[in-house]
């Protein structure tokens, strides 16, 4: 087997006389805080409005203004929208990075270069368009103080000309971006038109890449995972959002605030059916969630790695005292402060075992926008059904980047409140209520809420040893029995988390196991392995922890299962080793952990190297 599997379009591209249709990667290098994010979203959405599937990934600095930022747009008719690191068209607007930006291009790539950066151009193997943006903006925008913001929209117009993006689509995208801000919309519209017309008059249209109208985005949306999860929280009946601002989760809570403000006020009184508390730290935000969960509210927090580290003690309390709680962990690159604005799947093991002692938590792992939405609703339900902490493990790539998808399905999952005893039920029990007694054999005991008007309702919650009747106990047998029941409850959880999704190819001996935001790259890798190498693979997408028997079966059925994850230590692979020690020698890792989203080629490369090492090349 050769190691030279590459994207199919690469080789023919250099020679192809025909333009490549609806398949291009554009990278925009700008300075953050300069309004480039709006311009980039408009460029992406213009392509979307033409009907061509598109994704946008923002590589931004942990900074407010003045540092380099990049935005990559991948347009692909077939819908392959994972990150592809090789850039077809570079828009270089930033002097700080121009040298690197130009150097990273492969021969034949297209460069749109701000004239002021001309000095950085040392290469002749690129198709370069030098554009005097700084001069053009003086013409396009009469107000000097706005020019810094407007200059970026000019390249949208220029790109529209070069790629064949319809200006009506650009205009629609601008209107959408500046909804309710007529003046800004007008300013940007005229600048985009100016850029387009300037390019028409001055630049010869390139023939390598062409965008043509398509219908592949009909009925689709572009949304960010944090927005989708916030919608899940609003429609899932979340009553408390307690949070402490941290990238990349802040926009989730802010979206919750926006939607809740609009849709979660009582029609009669105008009063809120939720509360948002911006806490003083993550200790407090988690304590608020636990306090609210204890008193019967559906509560969640959203955070990232440093936040879950601070929440660890309270996570153990939620586990041991059996209090519903939801943490949405929008993972970023750690350890420590790490790369706050880069993506990772590095919190998997930590979240699974968060806190001291024998502690295990339920993890839901969305891979798409609809799952970010549905798993947030499901987590609120599961937390109450299982009376425990449930994590939703997303990441920066899912949470903050732009994803094209079908409209989210209408909320159909019922709001489930779990085993809560009413006054009438307590009456029937006749004083036999025992908070931690496993009456149903599923490890989940019944609880009562504070405020229940029955003399037998009260019990005492504690993080210390307790009996079935919730009385304090240091007795060895009480302790062990309680821990065993908690383990039994975790067995129940295995059947309640979303089951994995398995896709197979005939004759596949290789299993690929992945989760979360890796999905797009993994699908593309499978497609390339199959179509270029004739190497079929099966795919199991893990959607929740603890794992269930379907995962064991999948590993058993394959000669080798590569666990693909975006962390250094193969955390989920380690967890699978732990769960299935008898299958450990069939589990190998494919790892990506540089902070940028994983791409298909890295999966292919690592798989083929390991196959060779396994004696299968």
């Amino acid at each position: 087997m050769s190691l030279a599997v590459t994207a199919p379009e690469r080789e023919p591209r250099a020679k192809a006389p025909q333009p490549i249709l609806n398949d291009v990667v554009i990278k925009v290098a700008t300075v953050n805080g300069s309004g480039s994010q709006s311009a980039n979203l408009i460029l992406m959405r213009s392509i979307f409005y033409m009907g061509v599937p598109v994704s946008g990934k923002n590589m931004f600095p942990s900074n407010i203004a003045g540092l380099p930022t990049w935005f990559t747009i991948r347009a692909n008719q077939e819908g392959w929208l994972a990150r592809r690191p090789d850039t077809d068209i570079m828009i270089a607007m930033n002097a700080q990075t121009a040298a690197e930006d130009i150097a990273e291009l492969r021969p034949g790539a297209i460069l749109l270069l701000n004239e002021s950066l001309k000095g950085f151009l040392q290469r002749e193997d690129l198709t370069t368009y030098v554009v005097p943006f700084d001069e053009m903006v003086k013409e396009a925008c009469s107000e000097g103080r706005l020019r810094k913001m407007v200059v970026n929209i000019l390249y949208v117009g220029v790109m529209a000309h070069l790629l064949g993006i319809e200006m009506t689509c650009v205009e629609k995208a601008i209107q959408r971006q500046f909804r309710g801000k007529a003046k800004a919309a007008e300013l940007n519209l005229s600048a985009a038109r100016y850029g387009f017309e300037w390019a028409q008059n001055h630049l010869k249209k390139q023939e390598r890449f062409r965008l043509e109208p398509s219908r592949a985005t009909e009925g689709k949306l572009i949304i960010e995972g944090n927005q989708a999860a916030a919608i899940g929280a609003v429609f899932g009946g979340a009553m408390l959002c307690a949070w402490y601002p941290i990238t990349p989760s802040s926009s989730l809570c802010e979206a919750f605030i926006d939607y809740a403000r609009r849709y979660r006020h009582d029609a009669q009184t105008g009063q809120a059916t939720y509360a948002v508390v911006q806490a003083e730290d993550e200790l407090a935000s988690m304590a608020l969630v636990v306090g609210a969960g204890w008193a019967g509210a559906r509560a969640f927090t959203a955070t990232a790695g440093p936040g879950i580290s601070l929440m660890a003690e309270l996570a153990g309390l939620a586990y041991f005292a059996e209090i519903p709680a939801v943490i949405i962990d929008v993972q970023r690159m750690g350890p420590s402060t790490g790369l706050p604005t880069r993506t990772s799947q590095g919190d998997m093991l930590k979240a699974y075992h968060l806190s001291h002692g024998d502690c295990r938590h339920v993890l839901l792992i969305p891979a798409s926008m609809s799952e970010c939405y549905e798993f947030t609703m499901a987590a609120l339900n599961l937390a109450e059904r299982l009376q425990t902490l449930v994590f939703v493990m997303t990441d920066l790539d899912l949470g903050m980047n732009s994803w094209m998808c079908d409209p989210l399905p209408e909320p159909s999952i019922p709001i489930e409140r779990g085993k809560v005893l009413s006054v009438e039920a307590l009456e029937r029990l006749g004083g036999r209520f025992m908070r931690y007694k496993d009456v149903d054999g599923d490890g989940i005991a019944w609880r009562t809420l504070p405020g229940t008007a029955h003399p037998g309702a009260a019990y005492f919650t504690r993080g210390t040893g307790h009996t079935e009747a919730a009385t304090y106990s240091e007795k060895n047998t009480d302790w062990k029995e309680n821990m065993d029941r908690l383990a039994r409850k975790f067995e129940t959880a295995r059947q309640l988390v979303p089951p994995p999704i398995i896709e197979t190819e005939p004759g596949a001996e290789i299993g690929l196991l992945a989760f979360g935001s890796t999905d797009g790259a993994l699908r593309e890798a499978r497609h390339l392995l199959e179509s270029l190498q004739g190497l079929p693979t099966d795919y199991l997408r893990l959607r929740g922890l603890p794992v269930n028997e379907a995962v064991r079966g999948f590993i058993e059925r394959h000669r080798v299962t590569y666990v693909v994850e975006q962390n250094r230590d193969g955390q989920v692979a380690a967890l699978l080793h732990d769960e299935f020690p008898d299958l450990a020698d069939r589990i190998q890792s494919i790892l990506h952990y540089d902070g940028l989203p994983i791409y298909a080629q890295t999966i292919i490369d690592q798989l083929l190297i390991q196959e060779k090492e396994n004696g299968r090349s």
Partner: protein, 353 residues
């Protein structure tokens, strides 16, 4: 005598004492205390039981909250028919904030210690006060960590000594001054041995809609009751200087006595109850914030132990009102009131097209 004297009128058989809602005192008790005999905390527990009994509070509406430490254990020793939550060290303030959102109809009482409140939990404590979370927060302040055998806490006075004689070199954190600065509208200091005062302060606090802070010096009989300690029984008894003689008239009792305004200040609470402050040697106005902070400043500087209602402000907008929370308990709202309509959903979806 037994033969000649007329038989005395036989007293009527005594009815067991019940409060205004018909419950006996036992309903307000909890488990037997497991603290050291003579612990100041047990006196406070007794004051809590009496105050809740006298006020006729329904036990099931009470949520008892605590952190970790000797003081935090005491929640098990009162109101056995109320839900209790002994959480983790230092987080009671934030836990209580969550509870108050989940069910605003609950009457929250938090019992905590000085370590829980102003060492490990200082940040959360301050922010809870800032938010004006509806809660009676009692600090059973003994200046030391009892459960770990007597280390100094952050409220230990400068110069106070450990049992081993080692003096504390750092200034104490004054819970009352902090509470006032964070905007608390009901701030009191007391001494666990001053049963009557503690009880009246608790009763007054139950009528206050926001956060009430009661900083009660409560000697640790085992680790901080020695010569050299400024939180010992002897020290507290000999140094306590009440700002006033405090009385409490609940809203459901008629006012029988006319007070001379020159002698007694009357504080009207929002539920119609009244706190009466009879003048002693001081002429102290607890509604004057500046005076309250000056008093605390003087107390710290001159090592004085003033007790009583230190600051009161009637205007109090508790957190659930600040966030415009629905009047009913959130926790039991039916599902259909929590999920917006499909039309709302469609409206949101449209924005992503």
């Amino acid at each position: 005598m037994t033969t000649t004297a007329p038989a005395p009128a036989r007293p009527a058989p005594r009815e067991p004492e019940v409060n205004r809602i018909g419950l006996g005192r036992d309903y307000y008790k909890g488990l037997e205390s497991t603290l050291c005999p003579g612990c100041g905390h047990d006196s406070i527990t007794k004051s809590i039981i009496d105050a809740f009994f006298d006020m006729g509070v329904e036990p099931h509406v009470v949520a008892k909250l605590s952190g970790i430490g000797c003081s935090s254990k005491t929640n098990a020793y009162f109101l056995g028919q109320s839900h209790g939550f002994n959480a983790v060290h230092g987080r009671m303030a934030a836990i209580a904030t969550g509870v108050s959102v989940a069910n605003r109809k609950l009457l929250n009482i938090g019992v905590s210690g000085d370590g829980d409140t102003v060492s490990i939990g200082l940040g959360n404590f301050l922010h809870m006060v800032r938010r004006n979370v509806p809660l009676l927060y009692i600090i059973e302040n003994n200046g030391c960590y009892g459960l770990t055998k007597g280390q100094f806490s952050a409220t230990a006075d400068k110069g106070s000594t450990l049992k081993t004689g080692v003096p504390n070199e750092m200034p104490p954190i004054d819970c009352c001054a902090l509470a006032i600065q964070m905007g608390c509208g009901y701030v009191a200091r007391s001494f666990s041995g001053d049963f009557k005062q503690v009880k009246a302060l608790i009763e007054g606090a139950l009528a206050h809609p926001g956060t009430s802070i009661l900083d009660i010096v409560s000697p640790c009989i085992t680790f901080n009751n020695h010569e050299g300690s400024t939180k010992s029984y002897r020290y507290a008894k000999t140094h306590e200087d009440p700002l006033h003689e405090i009385g409490f008239i609940p809203f459901f009792e008629p006012i029988r006595v006319e007070y001379d305004p020159g002698e007694v200040r009357v504080i009207d609470l929002p539920d119609g109850s009244r706190i009466t402050l009879k003048k002693l040697s001081h002429d102290y106005d607890p509604t004057n914030r500046t005076q309250a902070l000056e008093l605390l400043h003087k107390a710290e500087k001159e090592m004085l132990f003033y007790t009583g209602l230190i600051y009161y402000e009637r205007e109090s907008r508790p957190m659930p009102d600040q966030v415009n929370l629905i009047d009913e308990p959130l926790a039991t709202l039916p599902a259909e009131r929590l999920r917006p309509s499909n039309a709302d959903f469609a409206e949101i979806m449209e924005t992503f097209q």
